[in-house]
């Protein structure tokens, strides 16, 4: 059963049929899925959702497929945990982590979008999928396409972290490492996509793919007991995730699944690649592209396609944006690990670093509910912290060596 009427240009509203297309022929605005919300409202209730398996497809009516879901059947529904230790460290009362660092199967929120993209690509009849990626998407497309028995072409910047390269190659895709930054990879891929009839998840499948990110927002609301938090801090690369979390929360409200929404959305970036936070701080509607220089490679998109919408979300919701240095990113990764036992990748360091900053600035009050979006796993970006976390104490296998070398009263 389908709840999708078609596609619609987000800028000029022109309607388009359900096809693997992504850009308006007239104004070049991005195409978006146009749902039949009246029909969804009749069929989708809290009870229905709660009765379903704990994966992202429990919100199936709000996802853009026509048939039954075929991919990512174990993805999503990651923990939303009350972070008491971290809350204490930051001096705030009600702090939560939405933890996609343990997403199945490839440890980042990209498993959500890829689940939707591949289910849709199969409906369109594609036998080959592809993507341009800063790493996490590469991992997820490779893994899920392997399961789906689809051919897979993955394009990455050549300087990616080893963990992300290995975490892609293991699934035996055609992995193309392009000598250039992500924006150059993306530009190349858009030209490849014109020539080859593949399902490029982030290009011609984008209107469908991007909808998968809404489930991150749905889960936050459901796991909080069917309510939206007061503050959500989201990492921003291309600007899609923050836009879709916001859309998801507003949809839940529209469908009567949650009461009021007075959530403020905050965009988090690395200072070395901060076109979105710069636009927010300068109150500009124009995104000035940058050449990224940051350890947060998964966020290193200098020319964010959804940048203007991300800026719009922070404004509409009354939120804000901030950015943090590479040092602050590493410190935040360590803080999350030592308080909550979660080892996040650099993007998570960006999000927590920015959260810390916003609390310090007084932009986020200390007594309201705060959700920090942790979207990826630290085992993939070990280079970022390996020189900053000390070394093991090497000893001989005897008690004397232990007592000689290992301190036994620890100030921790």
């Amino acid at each position: 059963m389908s709840y999708v009427k078609g596609l619609k240009c987000r800028e000029c509203g022109r309607p388009y049929p359900k096809q693997p297309i992504y850009v308006c022929e007239y104004c070049f605005g991005p195409l978006e899925v146009d749902y039949d919300y009246d029909k969804i409202k009749k069929d989708l209730t809290k009870e229905a959702i709660e009765s379903r398996p704990q994966n992202l497809w429990r919100y199936r009516e709000l996802l853009p497929i026509d048939g039954e879901p075929t991919d990512g059947l174990h993805s999503g529904f990651t923990p939303l945990l009350r972070a008491k230790n971290l809350g204490k460290a930051l001096g705030v009362k009600e702090l939560y982590i939405k933890d996609d660092s343990v997403s199945h199967p490839t440890f980042s929120f990209k498993d959500r979008v890829v689940a939707v993209a591949l289910s849709k690509a199969k409906e369109f009849g594609f036998d080959t999928v592809a993507c341009a990626s800063t790493g996490n998407l590469a991992n997820s497309v490779s893994a899920q396409a392997a399961v789906a028995n689809l051919k897979r072409y993955i394009f990455i910047p050549a300087d990616l972290e080893l963990g992300k390269v290995i975490g892609t190659l293991i699934y035996n895709p055609v992995l193309v490492a392009v000598e250039g930054n992500y924006d150059q990879v993306n530009r190349l891929c858009s030209e490849v996509a014109l020539k080859y009839k593949w399902a490029f998840v982030n290009i011609n499948i984008r209107p469908f793919y991007a909808e998968g990110s809404k489930t991150y927002g749905y889960e936050i609301a459901e796991q909080l007991g069917w309510r939206a938090p007061k503050h959500i801090i989201t990492p921003c690369a291309g600007g899609s995730l923050i836009t879709k979390i916001w859309k998801g929360i507003k949809e839940f409200h529209k469908l009567g699944l949650i009461d009021k929404v007075n959530t403020r959305m905050y965009a988090a970036q690395a200072t070395g690649c901060s076109p979105i936070s710069t636009a927010v701080k300068e109150d500009s509607d124009i995104i000035k592209p940058v050449k990224p220089k940051t350890i947060a490679k998964s966020l290193a998109i200098g020319n964010p396609a959804d940048g203007v919408y991300a800026v719009g979300v922070t404004k509409e919701s009354g939120g804000w944006a901030e950015d943090v240095s590479d040092d602050e990113i590493v410190e935040a990764i360590k803080l999350l690990a030592t308080t909550e036992g979660i080892f996040t990748e650099t993007a998570g360091g960006v999000t927590l670093g920015v959260t810390k900053k916003l609390i310090k600035q007084g932009r986020i009050p200390k007594d309201e509910s705060i959700v920090v979006c942790i979207t990826g796993n630290g085992l993939k970006t070990q280079e970022a912290v390996s020189e900053r976390i000390g070394k093991p104490i090497k000893i001989k296998p005897n008690l004397a060596s232990f007592e000689e070398n290992v301190p036994r009263s620890l100030k921790r």
């Binding site: 995104i287 020319n303 396609a305």
Partner: protein, 91 residues
């Protein structure tokens, strides 16, 4: 001698299906004018009603985004290659 321009799919209806065309121009603004002379209507697609390049369009000269160069005043010389590409999502 001339400048080679790669045309994105949504505009190929205006270029008789051609994915690549050649133009004569001294800068990016001139390129859009020359395109419009040969393929009437293309300028309206590329530029908003104030004549600015639409915000979801990226124009690259020899693989460099013109926003890192001199925007629509970016000079062009014979043999340059220009790509017109809609903004695309990432991750």
């Amino acid at each position: 001698m001339s400048i080679k321009v790669r045309i994105p799919t949504p505009l190929q209806k205006l270029t008789e299906g051609k994915a690549e065309v050649e133009v004569e121009a001294k800068d990016v603004r001139g390129l859009i004018e020359d395109l419009d002379k040969n393929f009437p209507g293309i300028k309206d697609r590329l530029c908003d009603d104030k004549g600015r390049i639409r915000r979801f369009i990226n124009i690259y000269v020899n693989e460099e985004d013109v926003r890192f160069l001199q925007q629509d005043s970016t000079p062009l010389i014979d043999g340059d290659e220009v790509s017109i590409i809609p903004a695309i999502a990432g991750g």
